[in-house]
């Protein structure tokens, strides 16, 4: 038993200790501060949390946020899956090109993307003007400044994030397993649904979690492409902090998002080992 302290205090821990202290100070500190604000501003108590049940608009904002995040996650992951699939099955040279393009899209700021979508799909955008010139439509189609616009903008931003974990899980599949399925008489569709898809499940879950959690924090895209009518939690928090000075409400919503994400991770961990989702070794 006297050997125990050596395990706990081995040199590795001593090396990371300063960073742990920093992480606690710089990361946990603000979180505790937020939690504290949520129960102390403007008056001590759970009044901010009670608003969740009494305020229609808060419920609606949270509902809108969850709905848009779920839809956008589903579409992003589906598109990301297709792209990853194409990449895995492309020749090396073109796969590298595709990966380059994918990573390049990370460098384009969300503001630039957002305004590009307006140019492209706005009321007077390239697409609407083109369709009108071709006589296909007589009235412009409302792609932007509504929920559809928000979804287009968010999906476009999130697809690369969805591709990477799925790509990783596809690349780890032993090609012989797919061959085995075919040799055993399964059609392409059967092989996909019964073998390929289940084997990429960890990638899909990881991508979904990643996309959903990032989606929760989306601010610029809904604010601009939603035309002001699609109010999501992140923008609402920002308004409460900066404009209406209701920091208690803002902190409560921030805490709620934090707990929501943690609950999601917990639920997921009951179905599968999180380490497999995040690539931490094979279970």
């Amino acid at each position: 038993m006297s050997a125990l302290p050596r395990h706990v205090l081995n040199t590795g821990w001593i090396l990371v200790l300063p960073f742990l202290v920093l992480v606690v100070a710089l990361f946990l500190g603000p979180i505790v501060n937020i939690l504290w604000l949520s129960v102390s501003e403007p008056t001590p108590g759970l009044g901010n949390y009670a608003k969740l049940f009494t305020s229609d608009s808060l419920g609606r904002i949270i509902g809108t946020t969850v709905r848009i995040c779920v839809i956008s996650t589903a579409i992003s992951v589906a598109l990301g899956y297709s792209i990853a699939y194409a990449m895995v099955h492309a020749a090396d040279a073109s796969r590298n090109k595709m990966l380059g393009l994918l990573l390049m899209s990370f460098w384009i700021s969300v503001l630039v993307r957002t305004f590009s979508w307006l140019m492209l799909l706005g009321r007077n955008g390239v697409v609407n003007n083109g369709l009108e010139a071709l006589g296909i439509i007589s009235q412009p189609i409302s792609f932007m400044r509504n929920e559809l616009g928000v979804l287009i903008g968010m999906v476009h931003y999130m697809v690369p994030y969805a591709v990477l974990p799925i790509l990783a899980s596809m690349q780890s599949i032993d090609g012989r397993v797919v061959q085995a399925s075919r040799s055993l008489g399964a059609t392409g569709a059967q092989t996909f649904w019964r073998v390929y898809l289940p084997l990429t499940r960890a990638g899909i879950v990881a991508a979904s979690l990643l996309v959903f959690i990032i989606n929760l924090g989306f601010y610029v895209v809904p604010a601009v492409l939603g035309g002001g009518k699609v109010l999501m939690v992140a923008e609402y928090i920002s308004v409460q902090v900066l404009v209406t000075l209701q920091w208690g409400t803002a902190a409560m919503l921030a805490a709620l998002m934090l707990f929501g994400v943690l609950a999601l991770l917990f639920l997921m961990s009951r179905f599968m080992k999180l380490s497999t989702v995040f690539g931490g070794g094979k279970a």
Binding site: D174, R176, V177, S181, R182, L184, G185, Q190
Partner: protein, 335 residues
């Protein structure tokens, strides 16, 4: 065990595979009899796996044809060929239980549940896996995984079973045991087995016939005995077993080490006799391996049954080597 299904015969006609400018398989003609255990033996890069993958339908063929019971299957996709296949590393479905792995070929064919259950039970008995039905592959040992792969590949009664180095991942002791099991299963079900390996012992112990592959073509084809006793090339003689090569009258002869008798100088008797000096002697339990320097012939290897005679002759002893006339086999190679 009841008969599992009709076994099939395969015919390869002038089969060729190019990868760009590289020729992996060149103009191979081969007839595989129904019910036969045929082994493709060769070093890596000899084209044996490419040949198997073309039979399985996972490799396009560049030219030539493959016939199953007389009908061309060259253009048929892998999933329509109905060949069982055991892969290197087994390629079990990691997310399915043993039972579901074995049932897979039947369930994708949408067979009734009762039939699947009965059949899976039968197969698990065949490969003696009854207790493991609900385990996942990762919970099994290598030998058990290998048996699951075999049961899965045989479950739908394929006319032909293709095996790609199926024992490569097993340790040596287990391998011998599994060889016997495989041979036994082949006997019981009578399906045509096409077996790829680079291990000569596996080839010799299990096969009805062996195809020795080299650089994309068939070097020699025959029963294990015929190949061992009558190799036609240096390559065949040295890849399957060991051989000394003698150069006589512009021809090359293969002479197996165990076919040479060794005696102290002056005691050798036989039609062919040469004198030499022992360079080294190594004890292997069942045999003593001598290396003997013979003037004009170089180092000759000689295997002597260890239980015969007394103590090994020491290094530098002068010895006589003798062998029967029919022991040296004339090869097709030029001297």
């Amino acid at each position: 065990m009841a008969e599992l299904g009709k076994s099939g015969s395969l015919q390869l006609k002038a089969l060729t595979k190019h990868y760009g400018t590289f020729t992996a398989v060149e103009n191979v003609d081969l007839e595989i009899q129904s019910g036969e255990f045929l082994t493709l033996l060769g070093p890596s890069g000899s084209g044996k796996t490419t040949l198997l993958m073309m039979m399985a339908g996972f490799q396009d063929i560049t030219s030539g044809d493959i016939l199953l019971d007389g009908r061309s299957i060259a253009a048929m996709p892998a999933e329509k060929r109905n060949f069982g296949m055991v892969f290197q590393g087994y390629a079990l479905f990691p997310h399915m239980t043993v039972r579901d792995n074995i049932a897979y070929p039947l369930s994708v064919r949408k067979r009734p549940k009762a039939e699947i259950d009965a059949r899976v039970g039968e197969m698990m008995e065949l490969v003696r896996l009854g207790d493991f039905a609900h385990r996942l592959p990762k919970e099994l040992s290598g030998g058990q995984q290998q048996r699951v792969a075999l049961a899965r590949a045989l479950c739908f009664a394929p006319p032909v079973l293709l095996l790609d180095e199926p024992l490569g991942a097993l340790d040596k002791n287990l391998r011998t045991e599994v060889q016997a099991q495989l041979k036994d299963i082949h006997h019981r079900i009578g399906t045509t087995f096409v077996y790829v390996t680079h291990d000569q012992e596996e080839a010799l112990s299990m096969s009805d016939r062996i195809v020795i592959m080299r650089n994309g073509h068939i070097e020699q084809l025959g029963t294990p005995t015929a190949l061992y006793q009558q190799p036609t090339t240096r390559f065949a003689a040295s890849f399957l077993g060991k051989s000394n090569f003698l150069h006589r009258d512009g021809a090359v002869y293969a002479l197996r080490p165990e076919k040479i008798d060794l005696a102290a100088a002056g005691h050798g008797q036989g039609a062919n006799k040469v004198a030499g000096i022992v360079q080294s002697v190594t004890y292997f339990g069942s045999v003593l391996k001598y290396q003997v320097e013979v003037l004009g012939m170089g180092l000759i290897e000689v295997d002597v049954d260890a239980w015969r005679g007394g103590a090994p002759l020491p290094e530098h002893s002068p010895v006589d080597l003798t062998w029967a006339d029919n022991a040296a086999v004339r090869l097709n190679d030029q001297s």
